[in-house]
């Protein structure tokens, strides 16, 4: 009898200790819908074992992404600089934070992030996971200028967020780690794989003669030779996610990767962005210096600047670049525009 009572007390204590947890509840696992053009060409996306995708986690992440609650004065959210209409970047060279101060880098577009195999994020590669990347803008003085402790208090005292976190992570105790995990989960769902070129790859669309000629120029080592850094039709990411000095400057006011690694050989290197969705992501380069695709192509054709760390893949540096004719530039541009995916920016799943 005494033993039975003892067991009962232990079981009651166990349930009392778990009062914040919903016993038996588990978030609904979510399997990313991998596009055919990805499944047939590249390896599986990176989903961290400690942050599995769930329906509720993604929903919470989406809510947080669009909510100004993470900013110090409730005026800006992630979406303020990462707009769906701009393939999750914005249309200015650099962006203003909550205090009206502009940063020095162009807001990066957000799509196909789960396929960034090296898991270095941001122009300078300083963030080693998507979860860690989500930490930085919240507390950056020139971005959301918040304090994570204050942001957590706001979330914890919100009428809805504690329940949303419970549904996503089976706990009411909101933390910075869970907040960034949810945002990362949402960001991993931002998949763009329905461009004209994707449909061409799948045999569902055709390209014009000009677009095909542009592809040829893109792939020819004696012409554009774009593919060594930006991939090829067998890699539908259209980036290697690697870091290169692409000849923008002779000296660097922004060291890029070099400031992170401390290796002077990395000075002036920045992440090679995807060529998808260029129709929506102007201006271009890490500092947004080029307003148009024409300016970008002109840079590689005749505007290269030499420097000690310029990538050896850059060609004809003494002549300023690969010297494309005007017609070739137009053809190359026509091809590049086939990589844009209007269905991505109009996808209601990605809008508030």
């Amino acid at each position: 009898m005494k033993l039975k009572l003892h067991h009962t007390i232990i079981i009651m204590l166990f349930f009392l200790n778990c009062s914040n947890e919903d016993m038996g509840y588990e978030p609904t696992p979510l399997v990313l819908n991998i596009p055919q053009v990805f499944a047939e060409n590249i390896i599986a996306p990176v989903i961290p074992a400690n942050n599995p995708m769930t329906v509720e986690g993604v929903a919470l992440g989406k809510r947080l992404f669009f909510d100004t609650i993470l900013s110090s004065d409730n005026s800006k959210a992630c979406v303020s600089c990462h707009s769906p209409q701009n393939a999750f970047t914005d249309s200015s060279p650099t962006s203003a934070g909550v205090d009206g101060v502009f940063g020095s880098r162009n807001s990066m577009p957000l799509f196909n992030l789960a396929w960034n195999y090296n898991e270095r994020f941001a122009w300078d590669g300083k963030e080693l996971s998507l979860e860690r990347q989500a930490e930085e803008p919240v507390q950056n003085p020139i971005e959301l200028h918040s304090n994570w402790d204050d942001a957590i208090v706001r979330l914890q005292s919100h009428p809805e967020y504690p329940e949303l976190f419970r549904l996503a992570f089976n706990t009411n105790a909101i933390t910075k780690e869970l907040t960034t995990k949810a945002i990362a989960q949402f960001e991993r769902t931002l998949i763009s794989a329905n461009s004209k070129f994707d449909r061409y790859t799948l045999g569902q669309s055709s390209l014009t003669a000009q677009e095909l000629n542009g592809l040829d120029l893109f792939l020819r080592e004696d012409k554009g030779d774009c593919f060594h850094c930006h991939g090829n039709p067998n890699n539908p990411l259209w980036t290697t996610n690697d870091f290169h000095n692409n000849g923008l400057d002779t000296t660097f006011s922004d060291l890029g990767l070099g400031a992170i690694t401390g290796d002077p050989n990395d000075n002036g290197k920045f992440k090679t962005p995807s060529l998808r969705n260029l129709s929506f992501t102007a201006p271009y380069m890490h500092d947004g210096r080029f307003n148009t695709l024409d300016e970008v192509i002109n840079h590689y054709s005749e505007g290269l600047q030499n420097s000690p760390t310029i990538d050896p893949l850059m060609k004809k540096i003494n002549e300023g670049g690969v010297q494309l004719s005007n017609q070739e530039k137009q053809d190359l541009k026509a091809f590049l525009l086939t990589l844009s995916d209007p269905s991505f920016i109009s996808n209601l799943e990605f809008q508030n």
Binding site: D216, R220, F227, H228, N234
Partner: protein, 256 residues
């Protein structure tokens, strides 16, 4: 009791006689292939990259900035000429220190093999296949250049005749002529590397040494002032790479 003792003696005899000379026995192992890189006798790792410090046979000073290559079809040949071909491949990415230690997925019967070999690059049949991991590394060769994959990407800088740094892209692929819709192939440019006799034990580590200086030396003295970039559509350059590559790889230390 006497019977048991005799049985014990016979067992001991059988155990002590089971040497490793017969690869056909049932005991298998997973050897480790370790890829090491040298400039002549000087070890080269990614930490040595991006500094102009090597001199090739032509006298050109150069640096290495990016180096990765694929090897395939590791084959174990027995004394009787039987081939155990693994049919796998490995991307050796020196820049990022990936693939430097390779353990094949297939187990190998232990014993002494008359030869162990591999293919530098891919043979033409394998080169026509679709490898998702190599696509993800953007290691492809465009279709108009014959398609398939790079055998090697070796990028760096050299000092030209004006002592100015210039880039070079020593990219080995299947040699191709008539780039375009209907490319033609003058000759195969993958090649077999024979490492010679190796005894495979349970934990054997096989070092494969690559002397990078050989790419520029033998039999073709490579002049980077003449051949530096846009070498993929240059079939003559590809054939020179094929010829020079024959002496790049050799068997290093074998640790049983």
């Amino acid at each position: 009791m006497k019977q048991t003792f005799i049985l014990f003696l016979i067992s001991l005899c059988v155990l002590s006689c089971s040497d490793n000379s017969d690869p056909s026995q049932n005991i298998s192992a997973t050897p480790t292939f370790k890829f090491s890189h040298y400039w002549n006798n000087e070890a080269v790792t990614s930490s040595d990259f991006s500094t102009i410090q090597y001199t090739n046979q032509n006298g050109d000073l150069l640096s290495i900035e990016r180096l990765r290559y694929v090897i395939s079809d590791i084959t174990f040949t027995t004394a009787t000429g039987e081939n155990l071909r693994l049919g796998d491949y490995n991307l050796v990415d020196v820049t990022n220190n990936n693939g430097l230690n390779y353990i094949p997925t297939t187990q190998i019967p232990i014993g002494t093999y008359a030869n162990v070999s591999f293919t530098f690059g891919f043979d033409n049949e394998d080169n026509a296949k679709n490898y998702l991991d190599l696509n993800s590394e953007s290691f492809n060769v465009p279709d108009m250049l014959g398609g398939g994959y790079h055998y090697m990407q070796f990028d760096g800088k050299y000092l030209d005749t004006n002592a100015t740094e210039q880039g070079f892209n020593y990219h080995a692929i299947r040699a191709v002529d008539n780039p375009g819709a209907n490319p033609t192939f003058p000759q195969d440019t993958f090649f077999t590397v024979n490492l010679g006799q190796i005894t495979i034990t349970n934990t054997v580590e096989i070092e494969i040494r690559a002397n990078l200086a050989e790419w520029f030396r033998n039999p073709n003295v490579w002049d980077l002032n003449e051949l530096n970039q846009t070498l993929m559509p240059n079939s003559a350059a590809q054939i020179m790479m094929f010829e020079n590559g024959q002496t790049v790889f050799s068997l290093g230390e074998v640790i049983p």
